[in-house]
Symmetry: C2
Subunit: 209 residues, 2 copies
């Protein structure tokens, strides 16, 4: 099924399925009913059946889901078996946190270089990579055919950094800035995932009412 | 309208409306049609009308939306005019990034204290607050009637930290760990917003296919 045919809310739940299924496998559980999975995930059983049917369905009536098969299939659908090279731009607190805490490989990316414009940070090591100077960013991307970038620079320089990356052929952005990449590059076919921490905290404020 | 009556996907779009409306006001724009707002936000105009109608609607046929009024109303619905005291636990890279970059006040929280269990970090300043020792966490929460916490400790200590906070009366969690707070405290009425960075990056990997 082509990605355009699947609704984004379903897609957004796939990583969650993947996470829960991986955790269950790590506990030694090999098979689970949609009922049990629903209790675990806080979704309804019918929601789960409906979601997984969007991708062909992996359950057998009366036998439940084979977790190993389900994990492999979701992984294939997400594309995490094929790694895309990615650079990280901006090695401030967020950048350092991402570089050290996020397991890029397990989700289909390979973090190949980190850039920052501060003398104090260039040369320091983050997650096994030595931070390069921002001056080298453009050359590095061109020479290595980089298509994906994590952007965690301050908002004030986001436009400059992103627009330059787009002109160099970067098409896949994990965006931690407030810059609206898609709106400003409507003519390009970009894949953008925005992480708006403020939005997340505002949602929590609403839930707390 | 009670919060239980509004679907979570609509709620999740409210911070986004608030963000776009604030940005438009900052540009000096006071009024906008649902058509223009939809182009800006990448939603359909009918989606926007439907969403805002969930909360009573703020548009006038033929006149578009009054942005100042819309911003105030969304702010009230989200509850950001009333501040809830919040502590942050775990002053590693993520914790430092949140403490310095997130504007808690603008989204209805007041960050009142930061805790860490590392000697190297206790006493350091983050976002105007001096990091306290994790040993003081429980007393501080009890004495100050704390109800909300940001949890960005390593996954290995998440259960211990969260369960102890729950027993002290904390009910509102902004959770950056992999610990499933709601599943493990089904008997409590907690408000939890999870930030799963891995899930976000997996979604990007899917979009990039």
């Amino acid at each position: 099924m082509a990605k355009k045919d699947v609704a984004l809310p379903v897609i957004r739940r796939l990583p969650r399925y993947y996470r829960f299924v991986s955790a269950l496998l790590a506990e030694g559980i090999e098979r689970i009913s949609s009922k049990e999975l629903s209790l675990r995930m806080g979704l309804t059983a019918s929601q789960i059946r409906q979601d997984l049917n969007c991708f062909g369905g992996f359950g057998q009536q009366g036998y439940g889901y084979n977790l190993k098969g389900l994990k492999d299939e979701i992984g294939k659908i997400l594309g995490i078996d094929k790694k895309i090279k990615m650079v990280l731009v901006g090695a401030g607190n967020i950048g350092r946190a991402l570089g050290t805490r996020v397991d890029f490989n397990s989700v289909g990316f390979e973090l190949v270089a980190i850039f920052d414009n501060s003398e104090d940070v260039v040369g320091k090591e983050i997650g096994g990579l030595s931070v390069k100077s921002a001056d080298e960013l453009n050359d590095y991307c061109s020479q290595n055919g980089i298509e994906a970038a994590v952007v965690c620079v301050p908002d004030s320089s986001a436009k400059e950094v992103v627009d330059s990356l787009v002109s160099l052929g970067v098409k896949i952005f994990w965006n931690f800035t407030g810059y609206d990449i898609l709106f400003n590059h409507k003519d390009m076919e970009l894949s953008v995932e925005n992480v708006h921490l403020n939005d997340s905290l505002m949602t929590l404020r609403y839930l707390a009412n």
